[in-house]
């Protein structure tokens, strides 16, 4: 009985937070490992980057590490409580992945101009590839999210 009660109290919020946090952390680290370290398209430190650029990078990286670990522990928590909703979680994961990608592509690259995807080349194709791939992840997340809500009982879909 108690368990049933818990399930009916299952709010998607924890599923969403866990998925989004994990997605953001994962994409931020993928970005750093592939583009900063393996391809070295934009660097560990770029000599012409202003202080605010390094500052936001440092805070973002610390947040990414935290988000990855915290997202996983939150997932363990909802599993333990039997309120894990895999469709909602997967949808949130994609929203986190795409959200970070588009945020990086629009805010960091274009508005703040902390760094670009690549230097010394025609930047437009890279920007398009970067943001469109991010947008596609966001769209996948949104589609999955509406599907997840259809699969929920009315009491859960709040």
């Amino acid at each position: 009985m108690a368990r049933k009660q818990e399930i009916s109290h299952a709010k998607p919020a924890m599923n969403i937070w866990s998925g989004v946090l994990f997605g953001i952390g994962l994409m931020a680290l993928i970005d750093e490992i592939i583009f900063h370290q393996l391809l070295q398209w934009h660097h560990f430190y770029d000599l012409f980057t202003p202080f605010i650029g390094i500052l936001s990078d440092g805070l973002l990286n610390a947040f990414a590490l935290f988000a990855l670990v915290a997202g996983l522990f939150m997932f363990a928590d909802i599993q333990r409580r039997h309120i894990a909703h895999m469709r909602t979680w997967t949808a949130s994961l994609f929203l986190g992945l795409g959200g970070f990608q588009v945020f990086d592509g629009i805010v960091n690259h274009k508005l703040l101009q902390i760094h670009q995807v690549r230097y010394g080349v025609e930047i437009l194709p890279y920007d398009l590839a970067w943001n469109i791939s991010g947008l596609m992840l966001l769209i996948i997340g949104t589609v999955l999210f509406t599907q997840a809500r259809k699969h929920m009982k009315p009491s859960e879909a709040r």
Partner: protein
């Protein structure tokens, strides 16, 4: 660079470490007579912390660190980050409380509850003392000055160690904790502190302290950045693990096994 005579500091550091290695098991013995036996693994963690902190201040690594910037950074990671973490897991305050008689224990607990202690164990204050201190050392002339004055060198290393320890106990509650803050607040402070630690290592990479050649500064900064990452992830995991344990739902008999 003209160097001061660091021998007295090395001797002092060795003596303090020796005292820490003798007093702790003595405390274990006294505590064991009154209470449950003190777990031996905490002594291992404590000793590891003491030895690692001492190795940065006395012996070959300490001597190398005066001239080699990477060795200096290794010492910084040990004294300011890894050793405090290990020492906290040794739960020295809990052990101290158990060895003291009731009157002294009450006095100590009053001290821990005082306004000053409550101020500096606020995570944001502790983080500022820790990371802010590092900014002062590496971004001002302090780094050069400390190698010319043994007193300044001792003072700065004492600060790095104490601030690192304070930072650790303000974020993860292992030992006796008098003033508690929410996980969200501690998580935010941890992210800010880690972020600024990364920022500082990048600034050192770009412009090492006076008298440090460019390539030496770069390798030191890389060690600070990635070495810091390893310990930082450890802190994050411990904080999240404590959150996970605290949120454990009350085991209900009706909850069923599956």
């Amino acid at each position: 660079m003209e160097h001061a005579n660091f021998l007295p500091i090395e001797i002092a550091a060795a003596l303090i470490a020796l005292a820490a290695l003798i007093l702790y098991p003595a405390g274990m013995y006294i505590s064991g007579k009154k209470h449950k036996k003190w777990p031996f693994h905490r002594f291992i963690l404590w000793s590891a912390g003491v030895v690692l902190a001492a190795s940065a201040l006395t012996g070959p690594l300490a001597q190398l660190s005066h001239t080699n910037f990477t060795a200096h950074m290794m010492g910084h990671l040990l004294v300011g980050m890894l050793a405090p973490l290990l020492l906290v897991f040794g739960r020295p305050m809990t052990l101290l409380m158990r060895t003291l008689n009731v009157r002294s224990a009450k006095k100590l607990s009053r001290l821990l509850n005082s306004r000053h202690i409550s101020f500096i164990t606020n995570p944001l204050v502790a983080a500022t003392l820790n990371i802010g201190g590092l900014f002062l050392i590496y971004m001002t002339g302090l780094f050069t000055m400390m190698h010319m004055s043994a007193w300044l060198y001792a003072l700065i290393h004492l600060h790095v160690f104490l601030a690192g320890y304070l930072f650790t106990i303000s974020l993860i509650y292992i030992d006796i904790t008098t003033h508690r803050y929410s996980y969200m607040y501690r998580a935010l402070v941890l992210i800010l502190a880690l972020g600024f630690h990364k920022v500082l290592s990048k600034l050192i990479y770009a412009a090492p302290p006076e008298g440090i050649p460019k390539d030496a500064g770069e390798s030191g900064a890389l060690l600070m950045y990635y070495g810091g990452d390893v310990i930082d992830v450890g802190l994050i995991i411990i904080l999240c693990w404590q959150w996970y344990r605290a949120r454990s739902p009350k085991m209900q008999k009706t909850a069923g096994p599956t």
